[in-house]
């Protein structure tokens, strides 16, 4: 479903990703782990199409189609979703309005009919209930006055409503206490499906106790330096990233 080939990315003229390769089949969950500064968030942003993240070489193929030339909204309509590490606050835009606009924009782009108000409300209430989000909160501005955990739950709510085919989760565990981590991971696990792929980006292994990956990659200095099964995460937890930083340094 996802193929990243020889991806080189610069941000502010600085090269961050230096020939990254990654292939994720549908139904699979891949974890990308790596030390700070290895390029994890850059990978997430460049996939979603953030301005300023410039791919100088390589491809990101979603079902064989290169998304690099597409604006972010088009990528989203194709089924790509990024759960932000730092979800933004948008005062004055009610969460409900935001969710509905997003959902209908995607449906429109795919040639589907817009949802009626009752249909939409039903969907939101169900999805919010499962994530223990009070619907009163959804009348407020997007993420305004939300705690760190509430913001992350709101990301998963968006994911649940938009039903993407490829989910990229950027440090979804950061800023979560253990209860919130459980709610968020349960939310993610409910979305696991044979038709959907996930890329879970994380610094720590603890998230992967809850969202168990099929494949674990180690990202260091802009490249995947090791790939293994879920046991690789445990190994990293024990030994740290230092060994790979050395390898990456040698390689570059």
């Amino acid at each position: 479903m996802l193929e990243v080939k020889n991806l080189h990315v610069t941000v502010d003229g600085k090269q961050i990703l230096k020939g990254l390769d990654l292939a994720v089949n549908k139904g699979e969950v891949h974890a990308i782990m790596g030390p700070n500064g290895s390029g994890k968030s850059t990978l997430a942003y460049v996939m979603a199409g953030k301005p300023g993240y410039e791919a100088t070489e390589g491809q990101i193929l979603l079902d064989g189609e290169d998304v690099l030339a597409m604006p972010p909204d088009e990528r989203a309509a194709k089924g790509l979703f990024l759960a932000f590490q730092y979800p933004l606050e948008i005062p004055g835009v009610a969460t409900m309005t935001f969710l509905r606009t997003a959902l209908n924009a995607q449906r429109k782009k795919r040639g589907e009919a817009e949802l009626s108000t009752p249909e939409f409300l039903k969907l939101v209430r169900e999805a919010a209930g499962k994530l223990e989000i009070d619907t009163d909160m959804l009348r407020r501005g997007v993420n305004v006055g939300f705690s760190g955990g509430e913001k992350k739950r709101n990301e998963i709510l968006q994911m649940a409503l938009l039903q993407p085919r490829l989910c990229v989760l950027d440090e979804t565990d950061s800023g979560l206490d253990i209860d919130a981590l459980k709610i968020v991971s349960d939310g993610v696990n409910r979305l696991r499906s044979p038709d959907r792929a996930m890329v879970v980006i994380t610094h720590y292994q603890r998230l992967l106790d809850h969202i168990v990956p099929d494949v674990v990659h180690v990202l260091s200095a802009g490249r995947i330096v090791k790939t293994g099964g879920k046991e690789l995460a445990l190994e990293l937890e024990a030994s740290g990233y230092a060994q790979f930083q050395g390898e990456a340094a040698l390689a570059s």
């Binding site: 979603a48 199409g49 953030k50 301005p51 604006p71 972010p72 909204d73 990528r75 989203a76 309509a77 979703f81 990024l82 932000f84 979800p87 933004l88 948008i90 005062p91 004055g92 835009v93 309005t97 935001f98 606009t101 997003a102 959902l103 924009a105 995607q106 782009k109 501005g141 968006q158 938009l162």
Partner: protein, 443 residues
């Protein structure tokens, strides 16, 4: 001093002075009104049109912006009246009592004067001036700020009609009063309207003023508002019109003790628009909110200038203005808060924000505080900038196309000011106008 330094009259100034001389015999009013007009006309002769040498007008040089003054509007014809039926629709389906003025003249057949609630009286300024109405006699010109300036003088000299509204002590007017000013004549003309609203102690009313125009008009409108002790008054002004409209408006209010005054100005049209607001807080413990939202495009020039004069202690004032600027438009905000020596415990805050959607647009923000008391809380802030690219990316990453994402952010931006309107129906109607404006921009 300006008088001595003044250069020769511009064409516009000369034709305005001539227009006064030619028409003064026909303008309504008894001897007292004639004296008022004469004095005002003489001061206009001396002051001329406001220009950039006057600090309050340095961003809006009316003398330079008005090439020629249009002839005074005549009695409205059938076409102008027919067009006026469509005027004032920006308030949506809010139920309000429509009082209609076409080309500056009250039109009874388009106005709703039936079943006035107890304590409410409404009449035309022309009739009131002609009849020597005691309310007008007692109040007209009394709210005008001490510092004289050309446009208000010109208005006093040439005022022809407008609304005179009185709300008796303790009366609550449930149904909002909608003053519809339509400059809808075929020929470009100068229109001078003057209104007076006196709200007695403890009374409650919501006034909506909407201004529409057809091509080429020059409108000078003024409203004097006397807010009695413990009264509660909402005033909303909506200004639209074609891109060659010159619209100069002066709202002059005096607020009594423990009263509430909530003003809102919505600008969505016109070529050169100056909304000046002078509020004098005469009584203690008043709550005043002045808010506004302007949406500018093309070469529009919209100037919001406020002076809040805290003369009594314990008053609170809040100003929130949001301006969205596209194309080559120019937005001006000047806000001045004066706190007099005796106005202790004043709590005044002013915030103005400009959102620039184009590289060619210009926003000028000039907040000023003049504080003579020592136990006060005053603050002001001004920002101007482009749309937040990170927020836009967040919205787009959820599948929202760029133009819609910008639209949501613009709505959020002006929403903060619009939320200050207490009437939910009107709030929604204005928000719909914002959406329509954005849609036109996107198409």
């Amino acid at each position: 001093m300006n008088a001595e330094l003044r250069s020769v009259k511009t064409n516009a100034e000369q034709s305005l002075a001539d227009a006064y001389q030619a028409s003064k015999g026909k303008l309504p009013g008894d001897r007292k009104v004639v004296a008022l007009r004469e004095a005002a006309a003489a001061r206009f002769e001396a002051l001329g049109l406001p220009n950039r040498r006057i600090e309050e007008w340095k961003y809006t040089d009316l003398r330079a912006l008005i090439g020629e003054a249009k002839p005074l509007a005549g009695v409205p014809d059938a076409t102008a009246k027919a067009r006026a039926k469509a005027a004032g629709k920006l308030i949506g389906d809010m139920d309000a009592r429509r009082i209609v003025f076409v080309d500056g003249t009250f039109v009874p057949e388009l106005s709703d004067l039936a079943d006035l609630s107890p304590g409410l009286s409404i009449r035309s300024m022309a009739q009131a001036l002609a009849a020597g109405d005691p309310l007008v006699d007692a109040n007209l010109g009394k709210v005008v700020p001490a510092e004289r300036e050309g446009v208000v003088e010109l208005n006093t000299a040439l005022m022809r009609d407008g609304a005179v509204i009185h709300i008796a002590s303790g009366a609550t007017v449930e149904r909002p009063i909608h003053l519809v000013f339509a400059a809808t004549g075929d020929k470009p003309a100068s229109v001078f309207t003057r209104s007076l609203v006196v709200i007695e102690e403890g009374a409650r009313v919501m006034l909506v003023e909407s201004h529409d125009a057809s091509a080429g008009h020059q409108v000078n409108t003024a409203l004097e508002l006397v807010v009695g002790d413990k009264a509660h008054v909402d005033h909303i002004k909506i200004t639209g019109g074609p891109s060659d409209l010159v619209h100069v408006s002066s709202l002059m209010a005096v607020v009594g003790a423990h009263a509430r005054f909530n003003g809102f100005a919505f600008n969505i049209g016109g070529g050169v628009v100056r909304n000046q607001t002078f509020v004098r807080l005469d009584g203690e413990g008043t709550l005043t909110g002045l808010r506004g939202a302007s949406l500018l495009k093309g070469k529009q020039h919209v100037d919001s200038t406020l002076v809040i004069d805290h003369k009594a202690s314990g008053c609170q004032s809040r100003e929130v203005f949001a301006t969205v600027l596209d194309d080559e438009s120019r937005g001006v905000f000047q806000g001045k808060v004066v706190v007099r020596q005796h106005a202790q415990k004043t709590d005044a805050r002013m915030m103005t924000r400009a959102l620039l959607l184009s590289d060619e647009a210009e926003a000028d923000n000039k907040p000023e505080l003049e504080i003579f008391a020592d136990d006060v809380q005053c603050g002001h802030g001004a920002t101007s900038g482009a749309l937040d690219e990170d927020l836009k990316f967040y919205l787009m990453a959820r599948g929202i196309p760029e133009i819609e994402a910008e639209g949501l952010l613009v709505q959020a931006f002006v929403g903060e000011a619009i939320e200050g309107i207490e009437h939910a129906g009107l709030r929604d109607a204005l928000m719909d106008e914002v959406v329509a404006w954005l849609r036109k921009r996107g198409s």
